[in-house]
């Protein structure tokens, strides 16, 4: 008979340490009690994001412990010119015997921002996985049904060059504007929403690149490298490129998000995607490209623009800094609207390239301007005079 030596494993013990097993002070206090929820009840999203990034005006009694060479640590409010109420209150001073009290929560208006998309771990992966799965299926179905064979020559070239060029816009803004800004917002809710926006753009860039790869394999004569030449040298694209580069050069994180999502996207992004590609593709026998472009359009219109509105609108009507903020945002409009309009006008030759033409450029631009005007009025801002140029 062989003896099996007893394995050394921890033994389960009945501890009865579950909720409700006893009554004692705090035994029923099962919610995070350090912030005021937006609605009556705290949301799951708030529980996993609010106050993770501390604030010396709240509970961070010892202040930031590490700083840059100028001594600034954490997330300085002056990283944007905009101000939310309370922004000018100094950080509470600490000295021997000062105690650790901060201002009453939320201390200033920035902490009132909640991402209306309630993005956190689960939603990020669920939404983006759904998109990539759907796109994979669409492209695969098109491949199997030989859908690409219906494309005319001109359209093949259009997709290779111009749809291809757009991937560079997504990539550049995704990394150097949005991912960059995720270090700079004043609260965890801002920075998390911005990082999700960044992933939308980077994913869209990759979606277009991989689609381009599929087309190179499926369509004879599809030039998978043409997007480089177009992006680097096609005069039609140099306005978009220059504007995209200018956008990544913005120092102020809020101006960057504003310029990209409030101005550039409606006037350039949607103009290119919705008023050109989406309109032209069906007439040229292409029902696949619109599903990719549509995925990006949906991310922007239904998610990224949505949080952007909720981010900026309260600042326009802020109880302390409404005028200050409105002036600044109007000045941003005065800067970025002309740049974006001139960029999109340089794209105009694209409208005549496909065999089956999309609706006229000017009609599309009117629509884009109308949409843009609507966004501004939602925010309580005036359309700048430059819009009529």
């Amino acid at each position: 008979m062989t003896v099996t030596p007893e394995r050394s494993v921890p033994k389960p013990v009945f501890t009865d340490a579950e909720a409700g097993a006893r009554d004692f002070p705090d035994s029923e206090l099962r919610h995070f009690n350090y912030f005021v929820p937006k609605k009556r009840k705290q949301s799951h999203y708030e529980d996993v994001t609010v106050e993770v990034q501390p604030d010396p005006r709240h509970y961070l009694s010892q202040g930031w412990l590490y700083g840059f060479a100028d001594g600034k640590g954490g997330y300085p409010l002056e990283w944007t010119a905009l101000k939310a109420w309370g922004s000018d209150r100094p950080e509470p001073e600490r000295f021997p015997g000062s105690g650790g009290q901060g201002y009453e929560w939320p201390a200033h208006g920035w902490h009132e921002f909640r991402d209306p998309n309630e993005e956190w771990e689960q939603s990020i992966y669920r939404n983006n996985s759904n998109v990539v799965r759907q796109l994979n299926q669409n492209v695969e179905a098109a491949r199997q049904s030989k859908a690409f064979e219906q494309w005319n020559r001109n359209w093949v070239q259009f997709v290779a060059q111009h749809v291809g060029a757009w991937m560079h816009v997504d990539h550049g803004l995704g990394l150097y504007l949005f991912a960059n800004a995720n270090r700079r917002g004043p609260t965890n809710m801002h920075n998390t929403a911005i990082s999700v926006n960044s992933m939308h753009r980077i994913r869209s860039a990759q979606d277009l690149a991989l689609y381009n790869l599929t087309l190179s394999e499926e369509i004879e004569g599809f030039d998978g490298t043409a997007h480089h030449e177009t992006w680097n040298n096609d005069p039609s694209w140099q306005g978009v490129r220059e504007t995209a580069e200018q956008l990544t050069g913005i120092w102020d994180w809020a101006e960057a998000v504003f310029a990209a999502n409030v101005v550039f996207e409606p006037l350039v992004g949607e103009m290119f995607r919705s008023n050109l590609v989406q309109q032209a593709a069906p007439g040229n026998g292409d029902f696949v490209t619109p599903t990719l472009i549509g995925a990006e359009e949906y991310d922007y219109a239904e998610r990224d623009l949505r949080y952007t509105r909720v981010l900026f609108e309260p600042l326009v009507s802020d109880k302390e800094f409404a005028d200050h903020n409105t002036k600044i945002m109007q000045s941003w409009l005065a800067t970025w609207v002309p740049r974006c309009l001139s960029a999109v006008r340089m794209l105009q030759p694209l409208w005549s390239q496909p065999d089956a033409k999309p609706p006229r450029f000017e009609d599309g631009l009117d629509r884009a301007k109308g949409r843009f005007g609507g966004i501004l009025s939602d925010l309580g801002l005036q359309a700048p005079k430059e819009l009529n140029q």
């Binding site: 050394s8 921890p10 013990v13 009945f14 340490a17 579950e18 909720a19 409700g20 006893r22 004692f24 002070p25 705090d26 035994s27 029923e28 206090l29 529980d47 996993v48 994001t49 609010v50 106050e51 993770v52 990034q53 709240h58 961070l60 009694s61 590490y66 700083g67 840059f68 060479a69 600490r94 650790g100 771990e121 992966y125 996985s129 998109v131 799965r133 695969e140 491949r143 990539h171 150097y176 991912a179 960059n180 995720n182 270090r183 965890n188 920075n191 990082s195 960044s198 992933m199 980077i202 994913r203 690149a209 991989l210 790869l213 680097n232 490129r241 220059e242 580069e245 990544t248 050069g249």
Partner: protein
């Protein structure tokens, strides 16, 4: 990914990068390192088309396990001793995670190789994942574990308690100062490559042994992203090494990052694993044994040492001294004892040690009982309110320690304490390494070289200063560590939830005012201060007063 192989897809997305032709992206962070612009390979080889579904699948497993744990009444079997320390751990860790996300852009302009930026962006969203999945775990504990106090106040407490302040370095160090020092050397090369092993692998093992299999599920899922982040760091490190002029800074930063991580992470995780467990099987690994395996062998010997041939100067002396502190100088035991001494200022409960614990400690760390046994017997004796004061105010042969200005863990290995006047203030340091970090490393020059981008130590670094000469009842009210009856403390030096056995503000009325050690130090005359120093370095072990001369 069905048709396109991942390699081909990955090759294709390299086409996305482009050089600006008209305007440079904004440059918001500085470094004193120099990098050559050279074509590099993206070390992550991750394409979002497969990345998102992979992470979603991992999530399904995590959330499936969470549902299972609740349906299976896991909390009937978890050890309260263990769960209480999770109130500290899970108050800290979501900030380091999110700070790692926020740190990634520090590298965009300072490391001018666009091929690396894709990996950094994926790390960014990974870290958002980690932070929120950990907040979610804490929320689940709050809802399902017997005592929600301390979980429910988690992020307030983390921000205003000295223990949270110690842990916060493991986050703020990622996002400030010289961009490479912070986001590459401190975060990736040391924190992620070395210390996530104890955080996310060793600790979950201990959780499982204490009836909690959810923590391992969550943290193994987190750790499985970590190898990608380690590749990010490695790629940057090799680039830094290829420029001779960086070697001096690499040496400085490895010394700082190693020593700070050791001080902070070993203090916290060592305490959780050794003093937060009920698993006293003699063949279960001690923290020292785990450290030897994960950090000394796997990181130091297998990862760092091979880099020596590329010119990396490795802090051999500091690695050996860390081990010396853990093995010979009782670092973890001294820290656990300090946490327990200061239990009144905590937001979790600390279970007394029993004979079974004593036996295990003596077996794993011969000589333990002589140093710490009597003190823990006193802790046990004084754990229920019975006319006496909390242990910090009773005579148990323990001298309240001064705090280390750099790592903010107290100077517990008393003979190693360094006292110096820095920035016109008398400061104490737990070790020569921490003194060097403040006095030499975090300065605008280093060994005669200009280092204008190096960060600064800031803040009110001694927690006790804020409460100089306050009464403890007032301190606790100020911090908000009182339960919903308005008087029972969140912290308790035992696990009994019978309200009659729990400490309240009333029990603290007779405690004397609490002076700040650092304020006191700065009020001394030079002779008094020297006498203080000479006495301090003769104290210990276990916080004992210096023997009569």
């Amino acid at each position: 990914m069905s048709r396109q192989s991942v390699a081909k897809a990955h090759q294709k997305i390299q086409e996305l990068a482009w050089e600006p032709a008209y305007h440079e992206p904004v440059s918001q962070y500085g470094t004193d390192y120099t990098f050559q612009k050279a074509k590099k390979r993206d070390p992550l080889k991750q394409v979002l088309r497969s990345y998102f579904p992979m992470e979603e699948e991992k999530d399904h497993r995590v959330y499936g396990a969470a549902d299972g744990a609740i349906r299976g009444n896991m909390f009937r079997q978890v050890q309260e001793r263990w769960m209480e320390w999770q109130k500290l751990f899970l108050s800290i860790i979501p900030l380091p995670e999110i700070s790692a996300a926020r740190a990634m852009p520090l590298l965009f302009r300072t490391v001018p190789n666009p091929e690396l930026h894709n990996g950094q962006a994926i790390q960014m969203i990974d870290e958002v994942r980690h932070s929120t999945i950990q907040q979610n775990l804490k929320r689940l504990y709050m809802n399902n574990y017997i005592d929600p106090a301390g979980f429910n106040s988690s992020l307030r407490n983390f921000q205003n308690d000295y223990a949270g302040t110690i842990g916060r370095q493991f986050a703020e160090g990622f996002i400030t100062g010289d961009a490479i020092t912070a986001a590459s050397i401190y975060l990736t090369i040391v924190a992620e490559t070395a210390f996530t092993n104890t955080l996310f692998v060793a600790m979950p093992g201990e959780a499982a042994a204490n009836g909690d299999y959810l923590l391992p599920t969550v943290f193994h899922s987190v750790q499985s992203d970590e190898s990608r982040h380690i590749s990010n760091g490695y790629a940057t490190l090799l680039m830094a090494l290829s420029d001779e002029s960086n070697h001096q800074l690499l040496e400085r930063d490895l010394r700082y990052a190693w020593w700070n991580n050791h001080c902070v992470v070993d203090a916290a995780i060592g305490t959780f694993i050794e003093y937060g467990t009920k698993d006293r099987r003699k063949d279960r690994e001690s923290y020292a044994e785990m450290w030897r395996r994960w950090i000394y062998d796997d990181y130091y010997r297998s990862y760092l040492m091979p880099l020596e041939k590329y010119g990396l100067v490795i802090p051999h002396d500091l690695v050996e001294e860390s081990w010396n502190r853990i093995w010979n100088k009782g670092y973890v035991h001294e820290v656990a004892q300090f946490f327990a001494t200061g239990w009144i200022a905590n937001y979790w409960r600390i279970d007394p040690m029993t004979d079974e614990d004593f036996e295990w400690f003596e077996y794993k760390y011969p000589g333990w009982y002589d140093k710490y046994g009597a003190w823990w017997e006193n802790y046990n004796r004084l754990s229920k309110p019975n006319g006496h004061k909390p242990i910090a105010f009773e005579d148990v042969d323990y001298v309240y320690p001064h705090r280390c200005w750099t790592c903010m863990v107290p100077c517990l290995i008393r003979e190693d304490m360094v006292m110096d006047k820095v920035d016109d203030q008398w400061r104490t340091y737990c070790s020569e390494g921490c003194h060097w970090t403040d006095a030499v490393a975090f300065r605008p020059t280093y060994q005669g070289r200009q280092t204008p981008n190096m960060g600064r130590l800031t803040g009110s670094r001694e927690w006790e200063t804020l409460y100089h000469n306050w009464s403890f009842a007032d301190i606790i009210k100020d911090m908000g560590y009182v339960r919903d009856d308005g008087k029972t403390l969140v912290a308790q030096p035992h696990l009994d939830l019978d309200p009659k056995k729990m400490w309240t503000l009333d029990h603290l009325r007779d405690c004397p005012p609490f002076p700040s050690p650092n304020v006191t130090l700065n009020e001394m005359t030079d002779e008094e201060r020297e006498a203080f120093r000479a006495d301090y370095v003769r104290q210990g072990p276990g916080g004992r007063p210096a023997p009569a001369a």
